[in-house]
Amino acid sequence: MPVSALVITLSAEAAQRTRALAALRDHPRLLLGSVLNGTRVPAVLETDTLGEGIRVVEEELPAIEGVLFVDVVQVDFSDVDPAAEALPLPRRRRREDAA
């Protein structure tokens, strides 16, 4: 399971920031550190796959109101076999399977 270190930048607007922090604290894959400088919070993301990590970093977290940006600091994939995360089937194969 890959572990990623993140820096999440929050809105300067207090109410938005509070709501964002609450949502982040409720996130089952995230471990939050202390908010520093008022708007930046260090975080650790643990996911089953690297692919899921990308989805969380690129889609899920930025969609939270009050989250301005998500930067990645580090990823440890020492216990991940990249090839074990199967790719989506080629398009033609998917259609054939669906049929």
Binding site: A5, R40, L50, L68
Partner: protein
């Protein structure tokens, strides 16, 4: 045990994130990135874009197992984007090329390196003038330098160009014709200092996310920073902008002229700055870098038609917004940074729009102070370091010298110790011309018969592939050699494929968008028989030397790549088993840096870059023996080459009077625009997850899963009219070619009605079958951002 290990991993990750946040808060490096982490961590710049983030790479058992942002790196301050933090996995795709392969009877079969080198050398020896090298902004600096020396210093031709022609050439001609010398005056530090960022057809939130996050961080801390997005479609960057000014494709020149018009008519331009530091210029009948003089009054008159209301009609941008931009430029209290990338450069009027944006900064005096800068961002890790600085273009020589200048040729021939007159004065073919020539039969003038491609994928990235690339693959006498790390659209039809080492499988140096030269050491072995591109070039040169090619000898009869060891004996670096006996990168770089003083692009010795996370040139030795980098060029407070008391000095001025040029260019129609037959605009570009043609990122399963295939972005109104929904497959067709793509509405980007966007990363869906090869008359850079297409539903029952 596993729980303990995972707990430790998480603690280490939290420590890394916390350290980075602290580092960002202090804005100064505080700790060594690898301290306390254990394992074998070494520095390297990221392999992908031109931001030049530094990462720390952890190697265990000969494999890269972890990547961390480098807190000591000023560029990224410990942060990475989603591509950067997967960069280590780019090495380990299952289909890495591992052995040379020759096409025989339509099939690629393995051959030995000796045979491969013999084949290339044999073809060059038979017809040196029919041989060309097509390189890359992904070449390391020593790779580009070796290729340039082989072609221009050895073979005595100028038959070399690089893919940066496709991405940066208009930025080069913009800088050169404005300031007399290439590359930005400012640096990324401007993003920390500016009050306003103007994005000119640029989407850094996805393409340069680490830079974008610097700006976002300032805003999050409560600083007032205004972001203005001037673009043809909404992107993720737009989401963060206070102002989105959507303009009609190709009308950006009108917008720039409209701002300049108001500055002059209102008298709010910086008269003193202009009087002291600027001349005015306009094009001659045959466009050139020098143009012809015009007076301020003539300039004002030329801008007369560009009233805000007229610009609104031309561009679609509201007159009130043109006034808002003019107000910002008129305010000297503000610091304004303009950023652009492919939107302005991939443009048939690319040189012109580059000049106009520089002109706005000069006219308004928003220049020469931290935060006040016009800056072109680069898309490749060494488009600046290798292509622009080493000079691996048809007209280039190292250190900003050019083949058309007799003195520059003489300097180069002297430093290379080759006979005077070796380097021709006429530039070689630029990229489009080279590939058009290669795709033309010999009896019709196609005299380039062998092209060696390194580190790039023209079979996917060239525009109008059916004209520039595909025909050559059906001509028996055209021989294509490709050095690469994975199978690509180019290797598929290559005659000879050479497997290359990638990133930390070799030593390397690159140069990023802010003039920062970076260095790393080899950390892991390349797979199979893959070898360094520098070695491949030197091995071919040596074989030519052995075949008696006079060009491979210097004036003393010695091999042009001769290297001696500490005892004075020649090291046979052309033999792979001896290649690592010395640090060839160090030797080549220290030779190259001797060129860099002539245009004040001074580089330090190799050893200084080993110690640093990059240094921004000019790097000048201080009395105490240390080396000082330069953040702001042409400004006395930082640039050591500005005369004391001058304040600002454009010391490479085109007009030889220390002044920069403010150009006038009229807005003009593009070579192709939508009509009744082809009613849509097509724009092409990149996506966050994939880098350029996807050769590396499509091998990283996680990135491929996140963005598995190309698509066509379409406005909901157009989709309704065509009767298509998300995921439906449509045929996108131009006068040059067609392809099928699934529709995506309301996705990452939102084009307006009548416009489409297609990314170019997917080799199964080659959008460059459709694009146009029309190019800028000066930079010769093609326009990938606008051509006319039509769209229809794929007929029922049609096979994909």
């Amino acid at each position: 045990m596993e729980t303990d290990r995972r707990t430790l991993m998480k603690l280490a990750a939290m420590a890394a994130a916390t350290t980075t946040v602290n580092r960002l808060a202090q804005a100064e490096p505080s700790v060594d990135a690898t301290a306390g982490k254990g394992g074998n961590w070494q520095k390297a710049p990221c392999r992908f874009c031109g931001t030049g983030c530094h990462v720390q790479v952890n190697v265990e058992g000969g494999r890269v197992v972890a990547v961390a942002g480098d807190p000591l790196a000023e560029v990224n301050k410990g942060l990475c984007c989603v591509k950067g933090y997967h960069v280590g996995l780019a090495l380990y795709g299952k289909d890495r090329l591992r052995t040379p392969m020759l096409k025989r009877n339509g099939t690629h079969v393995p051959i030995s390196w000796a045979e491969a080198i013999d084949i290339i050398a044999g073809r060059i020896q038979k017809d040196p003038k029919g041989f060309a090298v097509y390189g890359s902004g992904q070449w390391t600096i020593p790779e580009g330098y070796a290729a340039l020396k082989l072609v221009k210093g050895g073979l005595g031709t100028n038959n070399i160009d690089a893919n940066a022609r496709l991405c940066m050439a208009s930025a080069v001609t913009g800088y050169v014709s404005t300031y007399g010398v290439d590359e930005p005056a400012g640096t990324f530090t401007d993003l920390d200092k500016c009050d306003v960022v103007i994005l000119w057809g640029n989407n850094p939130a996805e393409m340069h996310p680490v830079l974008f996050s610097r700006f976002i961080d300032r805003r999050a801390r409560g600083e007032k920073v205004t972001l203005i997005d001037i673009g043809t479609r909404r992107t993720r960057s737009t989401d963060h902008a206070q102002h989105f000014l959507q303009f009609k494709p190709n009308s950006d020149l009108a917008i720039a002229n409209g701002i300049a018009h108001l500055l002059l008519e209102r008298g709010t331009f910086d008269e003193e700055f202009v009087r002291k530091h600027c001349n005015f210029r306009q094009d001659t009948a045959e466009p050139s870098l020098q143009g012809q003089p015009m007076t301020l009054q003539e300039y004002r008159k030329a801008l007369g038609p560009y009233t805000p209301e007229a610009v609104e009609k031309l561009s679609g941008v509201r007159a009130a917004d043109i006034r808002m931009l003019a107000d910002l430029f008129a305010n000297k209290e503000l610091r304004i940074t303009s950023l652009w990338c492919m939107g302005m450069n991939q443009h048939t009027r690319g040189t012109a729009i580059n000049r106009l944006v520089h002109g706005l900064h000069l006219l308004s005096g928003h220049f020469g102070r931290p935060g006040d800068a016009p800056t072109s961002l680069t898309g490749q890790p060494s488009a600046c370091g290798t292509v622009r600085e080493v000079g691996t273009l048809a007209h280039g020589l190292p250190g900003g010298l050019v083949v058309t200048n007799e003195k520059d040729r003489a300097i180069t021939e002297q430093l290379w110790n080759v006979p005077a007159g070796r380097i021709p004065a006429k530039p070689g073919p630029h990229t489009v011309a080279m590939w058009r020539n290669f795709s033309t039969p010999a009896d019709q003038g196609g005299d380039i018969n062998t092209v060696w491609v390194q580190c790039t994928n023209p079979g996917q990235s060239l525009p109008n592939l059916n004209a520039l690339f595909n025909p050559s693959r059906k001509l028996a006498d055209k021989f294509l050699v490709v050095s690469d790390v994975y199978p690509t659209a180019t290797t598929k039809d290559a005659d000879l494929i050479l497997p290359s080492a990638l990133w930390v499988e070799k030593n390397g140096m690159t140069g990023n968008s802010e003039r920062r030269t970076q260095q790393w050491f080899k950390m892991v072995p390349p797979p199979g028989e893959a070898r360094d591109d520098v070695w491949q070039l030197i091995a071919v040169a040596r074989r030519l030397f052995e075949l008696g090619n006079e060009g491979m000898k210097d004036k003393d009869g010695q091999f042009i790549f001769r290297q001696l060891d500490a005892t004075g004996r020649e090291v046979p670096i052309w033999q792979w088993e001896h290649y690592d006996d010395i640090n060839v990168d160090e030797r080549l770089f220290n030779e190259y840096r001797l060129f860099t003083t002539h245009k004040h692009k001074n580089l330090a010795p190799y050893r200084e870059y080993v110690k640093a996370r990059g240094l921004r040139w000019p790097v000048v030795e201080q009395p105490d023996g240390s080396w000082r980098e330069t953040q702001y060029r042409f400004a006395e407070f930082d640039d050591p080459f500005v005369k004391k008391g001058e304040g600002i000095q454009f010391y490479h001025s085109v007009t030889k009077d220390d002044r920069a040029l403010i150009w006038f260019h009229p807005a003009e129609d593009p070579p192709e625009k939508p009509d009744a037959e082809f009613p849509f605009w097509l724009c092409t570009g990149r996506v966050l997850e994939h880098w350029h043609t996807g050769t590396l990122t499509m091998r990283i399963p996680q990135l491929r899963r996140a963005m598995p295939q190309a698509y066509v972005e379409m406005h909901r109104e157009d989709a309704a009219r065509l009767g298509v929904q998300n995921g439906d497959v449509v045929v996108v067709e131009s006068r040059r070619g067609k392809l099928e793509l699934p529709v995506w509405m309301d996705g990452r980007g939102s084009p307006p009605p009548g416009s489409l966007f297609v990314p170019f990363f997917d080799e199964r869906m080659l959008i460059n079958l459709v694009t146009l090869d029309a190019h800028d008359p000066i930079s010769k850079q093609p326009d990938y951002k606008k051509c006319a297409v039509r769209v229809r539903r794929r007929p029922e029952g049609a096979r994909p």
